[in-house]
């Protein structure tokens, strides 16, 4: 797949649909497994530095996607706003201005914090595992799902020291919550503003065409320009929120966040699930 990425076609351009398929495939088959490997690797070969590098790689993968989404939007914004070419029927209803809603990122992050709050007070894990060297454990990362399998901890203090990934959401959570609050406040101002711009662009189009001021094609061209701006601003918002989250969280938190995000994007395109979805006969009404 990497080969197909680097192979240059004479045209110099490729369909965005193909780009996105490759992007998802890279996420699914390369980045996600590597990240998970570094998160769950029990042997001490991996270090926080390596995990940090992979978090950075995955973050970069997302940034490059939004960069390309911008490029595509400036080519034809209508196909980004109405992405029937590169998104499937299961994805489409969940998209906002051509991609994920920016609230989704903060909500995902909040869910980890809440989840942790609940699980932490409810179930205090017990440590029956004695084969771990405590020194090693300080550096190792454990996948979130392993929480149930590996029972650890004699006290909260011990957990904080020994299980950085598992305990990822307790550490600095107050500082983090304050920052999420700030990000959310910003989003609450910017998201409705973008929605209003989109609505006004549509209303303006109808008004211009209805009054016969300009031809429909000219009005559409004007509107297209405005829509490119709106989509690019939405993309910037999404990209910035992800970057902000990655920068304010610890490496373990960022790893869990990006893993959750990537898993959602990969999961909603899962071939088997999509097949079941398409053949689903039950009606919604």
């Amino acid at each position: 797949m990497i080969r197909s990425l680097s192979r240059k076609k004479p045209t110099g351009r490729r369909r965005f649909r193909d780009y996105y398929a490759i992007w998802i495939d890279t996420l699914k088959t390369i980045h996600l497994p590597i990240l998970r490997h570094h998160m769950s690797c029990a042997t001490s070969t991996s270090s926080p530095n390596l995990l940090s590098a992979h978090v950075e790689i995955l973050h970069h993968h997302f940034k490059s996607y939004y960069h390309n989404l911008d490029l595509a939007a400036s080519t034809d914004v209508s196909q980004i706003l109405i992405p029937v070419d590169h998104r499937n029927a299961m994805e489409l209803p969940f998209l906002w201005l051509g991609d994920l809603h920016p609230y989704l990122f903060t909500n995902l992050l909040r869910s980890y914090l809440l989840q942790h709050d609940d699980s932490f007070s409810l179930q205090e894990p017990e440590n029956e595992d004695e084969e771990y060297d405590y020194q090693e454990q300080q550096e190792q990362e454990i996948e979130e799902e392993d929480e149930d399998e590996i029972e650890v901890g004699e006290s909260c203090e011990f957990l904080k020291k020994q299980w950085p990934l598992m305990n990822a959401w307790k550490i600095q959570s107050r500082k983090l919550t304050t920052r999420i609050d700030q990000i959310e406040r910003g989003l609450r101002l910017m998201v409705p503003a973008l929605m209003n711009r989109a609505r006004r662009a549509q209303a303006g189009f109808v008004q211009k065409v209805g009054s016969g001021e300009v031809s429909p094609a000219a009005a559409a061209a004007e509107m297209e320009e405005e829509m490119v701006g709106i989509v690019m601003d939405a993309n910037r918002l999404r990209k910035d929120v992800i970057s902000e989250i990655v920068s304010v969280t610890t490496v373990y938190q960022a790893a869990l966040f990006l893993e959750g995000l990537a898993q959602f994007l990969v999961g909603i395109r899962d071939g088997k699930l999509l097949q079941e979805f398409k053949s689903c006969k039950s009606t919604l009404n």
């Binding site: 490029l71 080519t75 499937n88 906002w96 016969g212 979805f277 689903c280």
Partner: protein
């Protein structure tokens, strides 16, 4: 001074008397026309009224001509009435066609149909981008179109008995519809912002897909409910314009314009799609450019 004025006005009134009588005659004719829809038994009364004023020609000739003229008029008005009725039928039919289009979501909808309702494949992307909100026209845009048509078309504006008041009422309606739209937008946003938490893809590998699919469907059920709501607002907006605000001929004019704009937008969006082809990105994408900033930090780690 005042006496002189009074005299003058008296003079004027006496001068205008013949005019008045003419007007009266005209009024009689008008009244007569209004009565034309009544059965022909009324003819006799009308005839005496007219024969008094008609120039003295051969009585039988006038009687014959008048009878022919009257019959012709009666037939014409009957035809007009039929045409008005058929116009009304046509407006109703056209309205029903829109209503049917706007109530597609009420038909049995499978989960995979939700995307089709939101972004119908029959409409090119540009058409949807310029006009659609949850799959079709924004309800407020329908009234917005009407409002801009009134402003640009003098015939439509003058035919409205209280153009100013109507314009004000429409602005209020647009305002109210925008609030309704915003409420739906808000609910839609809630679904889009929380789908990642409600659809457990993270454990999709371990659990049978059935449960994941159930979660997807339950979210889509919510989306579907919003689409139905949006469609109801759309239908109401169109009905308000066509049935409540406008008279028959103006309603027809509006429907023609409404349909005309949709057709024009559809056509140029189709041409646009043909011309543009599928959206592309450069093969040597910006990832390299983006990579510059993170590349440095990556080097440090690796």
């Amino acid at each position: 001074m005042t006496e002189k004025k009074q005299k003058d006005t008296k003079k004027a009134s006496s001068q205008s008397k013949p005019c008045m009588s003419n007007q009266d005659r005209g009024k009689a004719v008008l009244d007569d026309e209004e009565e034309s829809e009544d059965p022909p038994t009324e003819q006799i009364r009308c005839l005496t009224l007219h024969s008094q004023n008609s120039p003295k020609l051969g009585e039988s000739f006038s009687w014959k001509r008048y009878r022919l003229w009257k019959q012709d008029r009666y037939h014409r008005s009957a035809r007009l009435e039929r045409q008005l009725k058929s116009l009304e039928d046509r407006i109703d039919k056209q309205l029903k066609r829109f209503q049917a289009q706007y109530s597609r979501a009420k038909n049995p909808t499978r989960p995979k149909d939700v995307a089709e309702l939101l972004m119908p494949k029959s409409s090119p992307p540009l058409e949807l981008a310029t006009l659609s909100w949850l799959g079709d026209w924004r309800p407020s845009s329908i009234l917005g179109l009407f409002s801009s048509l009134i402003r640009s078309s003098p015939t439509l504006a003058s035919s409205l008995s209280h153009a100013g008041a109507t314009q004000k009422a429409i602005s209020q309606l647009i305002h109210d519809l925008r609030i309704e739209e915003a409420v739906i937008d808000e609910e839609m946003m809630e679904i889009q912002a929380n789908c990642i938490l409600r659809i457990p893809f993270a454990i999709a590998n371990e659990k049978p897909n059935g449960s994941t699919l159930d979660q997807v469907n339950s979210e889509l059920k919510k989306v579907h409910r919003l689409i139905v709501k949006a469609q109801n607002f759309r239908t109401n907006a169109l009905e308000t314009v066509v049935k409540k605000i406008l008279c028959q001929s103006d309603a027809a004019e509006f429907l023609v314009a409404f349909d005309g704009i949709q057709e024009t937008v559809h056509q140029f969006s189709k041409d646009y799609k043909m011309r543009k082809g599928p959206v592309t990105v450069p093969l040597i994408s910006g990832s390299e450019i983006v990579g510059v900033d993170s590349g440095y930090s990556l080097c440090k780690f690796l």
